[in-house]
Amino acid sequence: MTSVRKVGERGAKTQRRHIGPGVVLWRAARTRRGKIGLSLAGLIVAVAAIGPFVAPYSPTAFVGLPYAPPSTAALLGTDTLGRDVLSRVLEGGWVLLIMAVAATTIGVALGAMAGITAAYLRGAVDTVIMRLADVILAFPQLVFALLLVSLVGPRLWLIVLAIALSHVPQVARVSYGTAAGVCERPFIKAQELNGVRPHRIMIDEIFPNLITPIVVEFGLRLTFSIVVMAGLSFLGFGQPPPAPNWGYMISENRVGLAQNPWGVVVPAILIAVLTIGVNTFGDAVARVAMGAVGRRSEIALVGSGVGVVDGSEETTTVLVDAGGVP
């Protein structure tokens, strides 16, 4: 049993067919997990996208007394100032979604660039980049964002930038691990002998080999972006107050939980379903991608989500010693 598994693994590893990100996403979308994740996330995206067009009232209009229970006029009742909860829910998601996607895209792009550059150029560049990554890691994501917000004030671009920057170290470590392996391969050396410029080698030769791990990383990072961004809004450092926002709705309507719980319950459910959906789909993509390269290690899979497996030599040794990553 055990030996068969080992042989199978080794066989898969030596073949190591290159599978594109499109195929990985498609296969992931057809697994059970992928279907569940995609439909949950899709549902919330639909609410956030269509919501503003079907909202019965303006999100800032006063339609009744504060914390009025649901009625035919206001299906989910009113909030702390007497505004329609339903309209605010329908209007309060799209900014969060766009900001989360933007922060993730910027963060993953910067992280991949940093990781590839460090792995290819080595030497002093490598040391400086990876050291800086360690330094940023010493700030918890939310604290890093809070630090920046405390200086410049709660600006939306700043929050996007702060969250993007806080993603960079982990993405850089993951891409560094993969890129370091690719840099050793003969075709890179061949291109060097052909006199191809370093930046072209990094973009044209190394990057394409990293697309699949980067897609996997994008899914994981997107969940974190949504969580941190909604958390910042909850703390009151998101969009400025009159604008509706799921995170801030939860904290502003908390006091009236006993009179009209819907102003808290509905945004909480929407955020929960969104993060669960995105994370479940991300997990499905990670599983398919790991299976495709013959790394069916549960430790590596679970670890990649929390940052234990980061391609750094230290961790890999530990995992190999523990009987982990082949």
């Binding site: 800086l132 908390r254 955020i271 929960a272 993060t275 549960e298 010693d321």
Partner: protein, 331 residues
């Protein structure tokens, strides 16, 4: 000379000492850069601390007098050196918002947060490892499916959603078992009011368990499928002994790593949970300080959290080394 040489051979002999020296050194470098970054960010970025405190429409005279009070009129390097010297001798400055020394302000909060984080970490890690071992032992059973599914769902939940769900279920709308806010009177410590601790600790435990559970389960499954466990099984070692004596010790290094990461995460997650329950810890202190633009308090809390990160990382590396015989021996 002789001492130097013996130190060198000593370092070469023991991987533990080697690791400690390199990690402590790296940690110091990290902290120095972190302190420069914090300092640079808070003093140099748009305007300076004086503008940050007074707002951007402050009169130049007001700004100037505050600049003198905060020593902003001196050179940057001199400011940095005096700040670091202050931090190292325990003088973290004076809170701008309240006029109280930062340390006096932070000490009770630090105790409160430490109690909360340690309670959540210990309870969470225990529950998670137990569940992980059970799920791995009965892989693909109903129990495994249920707990794994629950973990996959809760791992993605934002902290405030967990907190608010607990408040809705246990303290306001559905039942009224526990108080919904955990306001400690000044001078009261959390161990004097255990009932107030239950919900914040529960929220953090729910957030922490999935990570450690998933790693424990994965590491245990890999250990159980290894050759030496196969061997033990063929020899007829009893199931319980096999789990706890053969598999678990080999699964520990990644579990320790993920637990360390979880503690690091707690340093950030605690901010939201404390704010959600109005619990007077450093997380809530940070949120208040950010709202009030109380720069000295922000600097102190962020630096404390970074130091915490460095220390936890070193401890985790050492524990992992001690748990891994092959790496413990000299190479």
């Amino acid at each position: 000379m002789g001492l130097f040489r013996s130190m060198r051979t000593w370092r070469k002999r023991s991987p533990l000492v080697q690791l400690l020296v390199s990690r402590v050194w790296q940690g110091i470098v990290t902290l120095v850069i972190v302190s420069i970054l914090i300092f640079w960010a808070t003093e140099v970025l748009p305007g300076n601390a004086a503008y940050a405190v007074l707002g951007h429409n402050a009169s130049p005279a007001e700004v100037h007098s505050l600049e003198i009070q905060l020593h902003l009129n001196r050179g940057l390097f001199a400011q940095y050196v005096s700040w670091v010297a202050g931090v190292l001798s325990g003088h973290l400055g004076t809170s701008i918002a309240s006029g109280v020394p930062v340390w006096t302000l932070l000490k009770p909060r630090l105790v409160n947060s430490a109690v909360l984080a340690v309670a959540a970490g210990v309870v969470g890690a225990t529950v998670a490892v137990l569940l992980g071992v059970l799920a791995a032992a009965r892989k693909d059973s109903k129990l495994d499916d249920a707990v794994s599914g629950f973990a996959l769902a809760t791992i993605a939940l934002p902290e405030f959603v967990v907190a608010i769900t607990l408040v809705i279920l246990l303290s306001t709308v559905v039942w009224h078992f526990f108080p919904g806010v955990s306001v400690l009177a000044p001078g009261t410590y959390p161990w004097n009011a255990p009932k107030l601790m239950i919900l914040p600790v529960a929220a953090l435990v729910i957030i922490v368990v999935p990570y450690i559970f998933r790693m424990t389960r994965a590491a245990m499954i890999e250990a159980l499928e290894s050759d030496f466990c196969e061997m033990a099984r063929l020899k007829g070692v009893p199931r319980g002994r096999m789990l706890l004596v053969h598999a678990l010790p080999n699964a520990l290094p990644p579990i320790v790593q993920v637990t360390a990461l979880t503690f690091l995460y707690l340093a950030g997650g605690i901010v939201i949970v404390e704010e959600a329950f109005a619990y007077p810890g450093i997380g809530q202190g940070l949120v208040n300080a950010v709202s009030a633009r109380d720069i000295p308090v922000i600097q102190a809390i962020v630096l404390l959290l970074a130091a915490f990160y460095v220390v936890v990382n070193i401890v985790a590396d050492v524990v992992v080394l001690l748990l891994t015989p092959r790496r413990r021996e000299a190479r």
